[in-house]
Symmetry: D3
Subunit: 338 residues, 6 copies
């Protein structure tokens, strides 16, 4: 049964140099609007849910363009406030082979979202209208007001009987050098409120400061994740292990820990067109499977295939339907579908 | 010695989303005009033949654009009638890696070609002007009038002493579910008139309903094709086995059965830029070799290289010259030709 | 107070050659989705209303792209059915100066909208959800099923206490030669159900077969429109007189007849970037003024300015906000708004 | 009755900066292939004639692209030799209002056409296959070999009973300073062979060194053209007077002198999109009217309208059909043709 | 004799929607880098001077792209510091006819230029390397640090014997409502240091708070400017009167007050392609004439023509050479320069 | 310490078909300006040096665009003369997989550079302003005047105490069939003047006519290069061995011979986006390391990584900074740098 699912987060304008030119070579940018919340909400509308974004955008041309773009992605814009002056932006120069992609941010701390007043949103009212809410650790890195809004919103949804999803997504460049201790209490607050958490062993070790005597990533994962689930009373924890193969293809393996046991998806290896936002597709697959009550094995396989397909899609935001993903899970690749 | 070679078939307008965006992401389409007949006729003009298309296009802007495009491809347009109202169209969204390309058709049954009157063409007169004619099984799937035109044209060319080429190209989506029985009599008519046939063991098994106790594709091929040649009195039968490798490259092996024996080309493996229409390049290579009187081994190697190169060319229609193909057969790849 | 306003009609895909090239010169098309209902519904969302479209679109890539585009325009897609196989399309080649723009249609009669079953829509239920409905005479030219749907929907809205808007928009190329008699009964049905009608004296003379001994367009208008209002019991009738000036600018004068008297807008003269769909902007201005209860003089001036601005906007669909239009009414042109 | 009409001349590659940027601002060029002969030949195919070009192009990618482009324009390429190494090129930066367009040439004297051997073409054979041949004074400015080819070709067509058209088109930048005396004997040779000549009073005064005591352009024209016709025994002389209006529109009046009297077209004023090559549209209209045996008044009105429309078309080469031109002659402008 | 001319000011990134689409319609932006200082400095390099910019740009991709762009414009980048984090940006949506262009800024107060430390620049050293420096009133609106830098730089140039140019350019949207009093002292500081000032009667009335009993703009100008020159001891004051004609062309008249008398340029009327930055072309013409020691009448006519041509050029920055401008002053428009 | 480094050579205009279309399929070209000297000079400015080009460009639009482009690349244009009429150009059609890229030249022998008078440059004066000069064997293939200029410039730099770099770069298509003997004396002249030489064993065998009894490329290299160094008294000789892997990636190994011993870089294998000009990146790395006094092992590793990255950059000219290259040397590939 379709759910009403909201994400809380900033809308970023992505300004991408077309092809493989650098900013100092080109004279054209392609623009779109994204953000973790945007990506997750939009991906879930492709699976039949109603996707909302709870955010703030300025009331001018750029804000209008953002709203139009979100609507095009299928997002219901009724919880988006119009206020403030700026939209956060980032420039993207595509890498090629041995040359990595490069992201350069504008000043997102001045954005409408990050400058919205503490009481800007009526979270209690919104919580009545939704079944699930999604938060991202990137938002946690912004400022105190936004952190307090996140916590308040999570509590409101919790009180209203809804499900809280939290994606740890610790990004070192946003918190500053060795800032795990600074981030930890906010992360612990959110983990304490969350029903479903996206993370892996690195989050446990670094952000949460846990320890293990295991060496391999897999062993560390198996050692630490159950402890996290117990400590913060989390229903389900999911995440991925990623790596880049020698031929520039990527490898991805998904896991879902639930009811005391791990489900692992088959490892996938695939060519990559657009890396950014692909993790959000995996998250959306986990949320979809969990709200649908699928077996963990099905959920994690679905989420991994969703993540894989998102690497083949232009832009940050996943565009695949459930049927597209099921075809990809079936594994026989055709070259043209007529 | 160059021949006058006509193809009978519909001109389709290809509306392609640039790059790897979906139709719901982009706002721009690149258009071109193609079709099996267009592809084969144009490819053969690159080898020095005079290529005609026998078809019908509407007398308006879209028809004008189609004619201009065919002329640019080198096709002589003097046998193209201007009549009817519509041009068949298809949308192409390029796949990437794990995501297949997707084709969506408009209503081609209403096209000028598919609504031309039964007696629209003066096949007897055209047959006097050409040495070879090419037909495709896709055309056979359209309607009774078109089917009767195909048969009449083939008979006219036969009577005039010309060569009839037939490419089986059974496409299930056009005939409907399990419609082999429906298609069979029309296929048998064309096979009975054809001198050169493009097919492989699947056509024999499914479309013609033949059987074999062999298991592998190669063994089935070797078992069935000679039987087809005998049953329908066909001078030469050619085709390919294709597959997709794990790294998204394609593998292709061509064969040519003639005078009681098979010639097989070396298997080729290659990166693919544009898959559609590449089979027509293979066909054009077979026709070129057969009309030139080459040894089967040379013909099939040439056709396979032509097919390989067509995968590296933008658009449905092959663009390689005989000298381009001979360079590709020589197998040493240079990176820049100055 | 914002209203819930639905339009009933077909979504057309517009395939436009960029710049001033002809289809036989270019290789690129820009696509968008429009239609009278789309234009009116979208324009009204810019004024704060909730705009719906009641229509049918196929459940494939092209239909998905149409839905996404309509959502981007601000239209609520919840009354759009997914069924049938095709989307109506038209090609647009932009004119320049002495060379007129040229429109070439594909077969729209096969579209999902025009092939929807007679009982495809639950008009009674929809009528409960909306305050105003808009119909266009172009739809009336399609086929009997669509005509019966229009009438049924108008009756349902009427019964539910809503407002019915009908835009005569008789297009001779759709009805065939001298087909006013054929069209008349359907037009009379709709006029009998309509509260607000878009038309001018030409519709009265030709489509409705009325007569006048006046010579000038203005005199004919003043003579005939009140008679139409009485005969069909119409609350408000609005329309425009248009002409093209010698320097390729356009002249437009709007009128609104209501409560027994005419309000005329000041004649406007302006440069034109994109002519198609500008009439729908005028209609949306009339609907907005009427639902807001403005004085006729204000309504017609607003509608005329909305129409003028729509000529400066790319694409068929008006994009101006109420504040944009009020600035244009204020008449002092600035060159850059910072 | 359609004629077989050839033009003799160079194919130039036009490299145009898109929009209104300068070469030092942009990074993109649009390319096409044109030349006076190309333009006249292509324009005449639009009127139903078979248009040939007699020229030479190199046997490499650029030459292939030129041939493909000419075929797309409708030109029959069978009299185009493949030889030499280069294609003449020019860069075009579009002007806007007070800023004129700017053309920069590459070294066209090294082109395949301008370096073809004196006996490269079999003019006698070609003359058997055509009814009319067109030459342009620009070609006369190239070198001695080309000049001798022009004369030989004109004589061959004359001997074979065909019609010779010569467009004076004296371009000072090609001949050098005050080089009228240098050019005169070559012009006199061509005028002596021509049946139809494109020129006006400036050619008579400057290139031919004639004199008159009249002051206005019109009086000079009326004084000098009959004398030219008598002196060189020319059947018909046609040309235009052009000027630029204050509002950047252009004014054009065409004339045709024949059988001892002048026919003048109505003066036309119109907006201009692409100025280059529009004179060739006028020429093609004169040739069409003359070969069709129209009254001079009809011919000159048709030619002027053809010239006007060519200013609204992208690129050097006219694209209008006879029906397009007749609509433009009818003078009522519509904004959209559906 | 060429001078070394520096401008002090911010580099802005211009993000322009191509053609006439709105930000909510398009998906592509064209980017360039400009700013009053950039425009003036670049324009003067076209006249043979060495143009510098004294500014600060961040040391990342966007800053690199800005530097590369400035170098392409001909600016010597040796006085540009690399520091700070952001580049100021603005979005431009082109207007058409009745619809004005629209500019939306990002947060420029956070830019590298506006956050540079008070002592970031070694103005004394720079002053030794230049002959002329240019300042703009827009910079004055930023913050106290930038204001103190402006004053310090002007004093340093003054002390070193150089020429100080100040363009008043009061922009109300930057200072806030009715903020003339707030701005005045800073303006008076700069006027006191300036040798050449760009302004007109509005600056005198509003920014400087002067008064006159004259009514017409021309009379006010003639009344006030001499008083300004005396009060602040300014060598030369220049400016323009601008208006928009009914047909969307613009009218411009330039003046130059010097040695106690006014020189007025002929009023110019012209079509406009890109309005932004055209005033900077006028300024550059005044600076060029003044440094060259031309008569005021020549200088003002040159500056006005430079201003006119800048409206025909894509982008904010003037691109015309002295020879281009002299051609435009000669007033006969040709359509194509070959 | 940054050096002043000049390159002597022609500026070529690169006209590239976008994507993978052929010239006969597309209608658009992307243009840039390059050449070995341009590439090396620009690459060295990225490492902090001041890069000059000593060349000649015409004084018209195309020349202006070239200068602007070179400045954008960071090159100081003060040693570029404006003279002559043409810019050498080449067309580039990108290959894909089995289809090689194709380069077609225009007549570069007529270019401003190749037609400059023997005494056009004041080499003695330039030599005073620079520390290092770079020459390329391609220039040697042009004509006697250019060859004498090269020699004179090298001698002038030598006399002034500067460093001479010579890249052998023998291109058979420029010298004609089997023309090694013709080229040899000019190569020997340059080798006799050079401090640093780019070459490998093929140059020694073919161009210099040396011999060895070794079979493998590596053995031949080790055998011949020391002999070359001795014979021509060369301080350092560097070069690469390149090959194309089966999967279309390229393999590259760099070497540097100096002080009697070889340093070899680790072999690199990488995906290729744009092959042209990548060798110049290697050269620039060698020059950078040599002028910085790095150990040979460091220099050759840096140069090889610079060469690898240049294959991932659009256009002929390397764009990587020293820090980009050091990251690539560190070998761990990240997918996105934020």
């Amino acid at each position: 049964m379709p759910k009403r699912i909201a994400a809380f987060g900033e809308v970023m304008m992505r300004l991408q140099v077309p092809g493989y030119e650098l900013l100092s070579q080109s004279n054209t940018l392609q623009y779109s609007f994204s953000g973790t919340g945007v990506n997750v909400s939009a991906a879930l509308t492709r699976f039949g849910h109603t996707g909302y974004l709870v955010s703030t955008l300025p009331d001018h041309s750029v804000g209008d363009a953002a709203i139009a773009y979100l609507r095009k992605l299928g997002i219901t814009a009724s919880f988006i406030r119009r206020d403030g002056k700026y939209v956060g932006m980032y420039f993207l120069e595509n890498g090629f082979g041995a040359r990595a992609s490069r992201v350069t941010y504008t000043n997102r701390l001045e954005s409408s979202f990050n400058t919205a007043a503490a009481d800007a949103y009526d979270f209690a009212a919104i919580a009545q209208e939704i079944d699930v809410v999604h938060f991202c650790g990137i938002t946690l890195a912004m400022n105190d007001t936004v952190r307090s809004q996140m916590k308040a919103f999570a509590q409101a949804v919790k009180s209203a009987g809804g499900t809280v999803v939290f994606d740890c997504n610790y990004r070192p460049s946003l918190w500053g050098e060795g800032a795990y201790e600074k981030a930890r209490p906010y992360y612990e607050d959110m983990l304490g409120l969350a029903d479903i958490v996206m993370m892996n062993e690195k989050d446990a070790l670094l952000t949460l400061g846990m320890s293990t005597d295991k060496q391999s990533r897999r062993e560390q994962l198996v050692d630490l994740i159950p402890a996290v689930a117990v400590k913060y009373n989390i229903r389900a924890i999911a995440g991925t292990h990623r790596s880049i193969n020698g031929d520039n293809t990527h490898a991805l393996q998904g896991f879902l820990y639930k009811d005391g046991r791990f489900a692992f998806a088959e490892p996938l290896s695939f060519a990559v067109h657009d890396r950014i936002g692909a993790g959000d597709a995996y998250t959306s697959g986990i949320i979809h499977g969990e709200t649908a009550g699928w077996a963990p094995e099905e959920t994690v396989a679905f989420a991994a295939a969703a993540g894989m397909l998102a690497h083949t899609i232009v832009g940050d935001t996943p565009m695949s339907s459930e049927s597209d993903i099921r075809k990809a899970m079936a594994a026989t690749v055709s070259d043209v579908e007529r």
